[in-house]
Symmetry: C2
Subunit: 404 residues, 2 copies
């Protein structure tokens, strides 16, 4: 039934016995059908001015008739040497990225910059991290990291992504994904993470923003402040974080061991700034690490913190998502905000204005747009630049003077 080889192709006799196999129609097929050169058919699609309108019309017509929907993008990309898309890698699952409004906003800005250039955005799936299932003993088995890494799904998708460049968003220090990206040798823009020598970078003034947030609360008189922190480091199967996680007694409470693993640049910067400001004012910080950047997680942590440490009068949250969870916790406890509890977030996502949440604003969408532009420049042969965007504290109704 399957006729793999091309038909004898005796043009005179029209040897095609029947519409044999459902092989995909290609450009050549329609060229053959019209007895023109493949080049002409190609031109019909890509350089209409290179052939007579009537020939072009005939070509398009028979293409339609034969069910040919234009040149294969893959083949075309291969020949042209450009994939027409850029890859985005995020050091967490994609589903996670989309759940975070700030990440979404960033992607939106990025998309805007790219759609101007008619570039597609290829989201590269990250390894699923088994964050929800607790790491049982099985995971402990060594995996000869050297060779396995080369063929691992984690980095594998990076290596097999048909893209012209990458944007890496908030990868942890020493991330395998990042290494894989750098290994591809394509233009790269790094965003919201540790810089790498010679690689384009877009970031924000994390320290400044965090300091402003902390000082704001300190100025209001708060001296016992809880911190709802973003993750310290990745928890993926590849990453050696097992131990600290195993020994934690109280969920979320930060042990020195855990703090030693601080490998997310953003988290580290903000935490350091919080600490610095608190130290200046002689205030005490109670740090809880949220395993996930979700309101649920934050609510749980806030409830626990407020239960175990009643002296806390304010919460510094490293994201608005966490802050929203903190607000929920306050409501559940019947704590007035800001009367009995002040809450300050970070990111200033759109819904925070409606919630009256005090927060550190960062130009999230613009950051994405700039990252896109930076990559486009790189693609055009431009030089790698680095850019730090400002942050700004937005004081709203969720923070007020300490009232004891």
């Amino acid at each position: 039934m399957v006729r793999a080889s091309p038909p004898p192709s005796d043009p005179a006799a029209s040897a095609q016995p029947a519409a044999s196999l459902p092989r995909r129609v290609t450009l050549k097929d329609i060229a053959r059908a019209l007895k023109v050169s493949p080049a002409t058919v190609s031109n019909a699609y890509n350089r209409p001015d290179q052939l007579s309108p009537q020939l072009r019309a005939r070509i398009l017509e028979t293409a339609l008739a034969l069910g040919y929907s234009g040149p294969d993008p893959l083949a075309s990309s291969l020949r042209r040497g450009r994939a027409g898309a850029i890859g985005v890698v995020y050091d967490a699952t994609l589903s996670y990225a989309f759940a975070d409004p700030a990440a979404s906003l960033f992607l939106g800005g990025l998309a805007r910059a790219l759609e101007e250039q008619n570039l597609g955005l290829l989201l590269i799936p990250s390894p699923q991290r088994p964050s929800l299932q607790r790491p049982d003993a099985q995971n402990a088995r060594p995996q000869e990291p050297s060779l396995r890494a080369a063929a691992q799904p984690a980095t594998g998708r990076v290596q097999s992504a048909s893209v012209d460049g990458f944007v890496v968003y908030s990868a942890s220090d020493g991330s395998e994904l990042l290494k894989a990206v750098l290994g591809r040798g394509l233009p790269v823009v790094l965003v919201d993470q540790s810089q790498v020598e010679g690689v384009a970078y877009i970031g924000i003034d994390d320290a400044g923003g965090a300091r402003a947030a902390a000082r704001h609360l300190l100025d209001l008189g708060h001296r016992q402040i809880g911190v709802l922190s973003l993750e310290f480091g990745p928890q993926g199967p590849d990453e050696p974080t097992g131990t600290a996680r195993g020994t934690e007694q109280s969920r979320g409470t930060v042990t020195p061991e855990r703090e030693a693993q601080l490998s997310y640049h953003t988290t580290a910067e903000r935490l350091r700034a919080y600490r610095g400001a608190a130290a200046e004012a002689g205030a005490t910080l109670f740090v809880m690490e949220a395993q996930d950047n979700t309101p649920q997680e934050a609510e749980t942590l806030a409830l626990e913190l407020l239960r175990t440490t009643p002296g806390v009068t304010a919460l510094l949250c490293m994201s608005d998502v966490l802050a929203q969870g903190a607000l929920s916790a306050a409501r559940k406890l019947g704590l007035e905000v800001p009367g009995s509890l002040s809450v300050v977030g970070f990111d200033d996502v759109p819904s925070s204005a409606a919630l009256g949440l005090s927060s550190v604003h960062q130009p999230t969408a613009q950051k994405g747009e700039l990252a896109g532009r930076a990559l486009v420049e790189l693609l055009a042969g431009g030089a790698a630049r680095e850019l730090i965007l400002p942050t700004q504290l937005m004081v709203r109704g969720s923070s007020g003077p300490v009232r004891k």
Copy 2:
């Protein structure tokens, strides 16, 4: 220090006059360098069991030395016949998609289903619609739609996307983009829009949800209800919506002409359900069309509606984003919610719970996940199915009995 070009490596005669141009190293280069066949090098990457470990090690090693980062994804995809990614088209700009939490959630679910299969997600840029600039006379010039369409950037990206299938999300009826997608002849899953015969479909019970929302307000005694509607139809340059938009006197107010252009399935379904429920109860609806699904737009519309129609005691909003804008408007007017104004949204995005917004819940992320699975099934040769997911009214604090 950096040796970009492969070393001369003249084994025999070395016809290469010099390390001429910084040509990319290819699989063949490293095959040549080791005097093995390209096939062997390929195997080193893809079928490690097909060659001796030591040979493989040597290959990987010299690959590293020559700066070869593995088989070109494009070439590999071409040969294998699968792109390893699926395309998502959304009938609005991508930046817009990301600004909508519901869309983001959907994409997140989709991404999850795809990352399980190690498929990438290629976001296809839509044409920028000049929504913000008002459509001036220039746009009126005819563009010989027939031929232009074939090469238009709008549909162009669809035709040139290297993907194995598509997910089309909320395209308007008669969307050019949708036609282009269908024209590709690849597996397609349609989501939240009008169905197409024989094409897989995932949707929600829009009518049921909208009806429940409307009845809820009606049961509470409201009889003059404002509706903050999503867009009726696309406003892109290609779409013939100019006239109605031109003649609108009062921003957002819906004219019969405009309503005749109702081409978004979701909007149409919800509106019809609102209308049906209102008619049953003898209530009056005041419909405003939001050009954009943003809180700002909604706030503006709500302010205007409440100003011009003081009898309105409740607002039915077709999205939570719009509802959040309505809440802002209420706050600005000093209207108590739900005392003086009830607000009900649609989607039940995560932040709505924190806001205490009554809303129609839909399993947004799950919808995305199911769409992904459906597409994966299609890719595997499965049959096209259709699926309608349920919605559920979540009554929270933003809706209450009418109080006059």
